[in-house]
Symmetry: C2
Subunit: 217 residues, 2 copies
Amino acid sequence: MAGDKSEQTKDLVLQTALGMLRTRGYAKTTMRAIAAEAGVSLGSAYYYFASKDELVLELYRESVLEQRAAANTALAGRKGLSDRLKVALHAGVQALNPYHHFGGAFIASALPPHTAVNPFGAASTQAREEAIAIFADVIDGTKIPAYLRSQLPELLWLAYMGIVLFWVYDHSEDQRRTHTLIDGAAALIAKLVALSRLPVVKPLVEEALALKARVQS
Amino acid sequence: MAGDKSEQTKDLVLQTALGMLRTRGYAKTTMRAIAAEAGVSLGSAYYYFASKDELVLELYRESVLEQRAAANTALAGRKGLSDRLKVALHAGVQALNPYHHFGGAFIASALPPHTAVNPFGAASTQAREEAIAIFADVIDGTKIPAYLRSQLPELLWLAYMGIVLFWVYDHSEDQRRTHTLIDGAAALIAKLVALSRLPVVKPLVEEALALKARVQS
DNA sequence: ACTCATATTTGAACACGTTCAAATATGAGG
DNA sequence: CCTCATATTTGAACGTGTTCAAATATGAGT
């Protein structure tokens, strides 16, 4: 049937694009270059992918899977929220490392609300849920106050987005500053979660959760 | 002398660009359109401004001045951190309102590390300091624990950047959700600052400050 | 007034992402 | 095998930001 050949061509374009994005970076991965390398015409590439962003979105999706896989490996045998959070975050940004030379291009094409790659947008719902699941894995088996438990993965993901943003700008060698940030932030978050049982702190956390709910609707 | 005429032309291009950006938005404000409207050639526009981003940076700078002016007006007569923070933040995003239809374009051209408009980058140092000064104004005359005082403006600016990011994506009518977020966040921050005197909370805040310092170097 | 180095201006040109009408291939129904 | 609607492919074209060599204007030093 036609679907088969079509599917093959689409996949050829996609794999070519992903490969070029990884090896040559965002800027040099031109739609024309992708088409040429894949041996199809420019128009054909656009027949399967409406925009370059749509191809970058695929890369983003793959990177999230890589991040989660790396995090899960790193989580094995780790106990305690602080430790688990640390290793998951380190593994996450390490999985992102091949894309650091993208510089802002990744972020730039990711953040505009109308683009497909926007991590908060509809098109990346699936990837976002996958990313949030990383932090569901992280808190799995740790002791978290019940009133906080269900919301924590999403909150941790939000913090992770902040860390990734920091990472994008981090040009220190091997992104040392990002790793410093992760160690510190993980320890802080764990302590905050522990403190969230205390009568002085609990109302504050509850208020934050209520605000989050109010703001999302 | 030559500097005069040159300065005039540069200013003509700039003012034309700012006007068009405000009225027609980012996408429709083409370098060609700017040049045509200003009555100069395309090349001339580029002689004075190396990129479109550089012109957007000027708009960003102006917007920061507007934000600060609006915040200062709103701050008059307000007492208490929560209140002052609220009115300053509301005034800030309200001053940004004319640019909301920029959508992601503003952010997109602002966030890539290499571009001029990046609020964390070197090119916008001046604008960033101006923005941070807003929050120095906010805490002026309020009671803040001494160990926290000097770092607080920058921390509040960071929180504000988060709010602006939220605002970019906020398509609720009149950005109601952003204003809800501001009210809630301001109240929370004020409570957290108050709590930061307590022996249980203080070490955590101190740890956060230490991390911030460590990560910046 | 003249010279000439420098400042400014110009418009063509480039590569890019994207669109589109037209050409071609495909395959189900006869 | 033929027909023809539909799926796919093509390459030219558009408008964009940006670059650049060439043309022109300017003004200080003589």
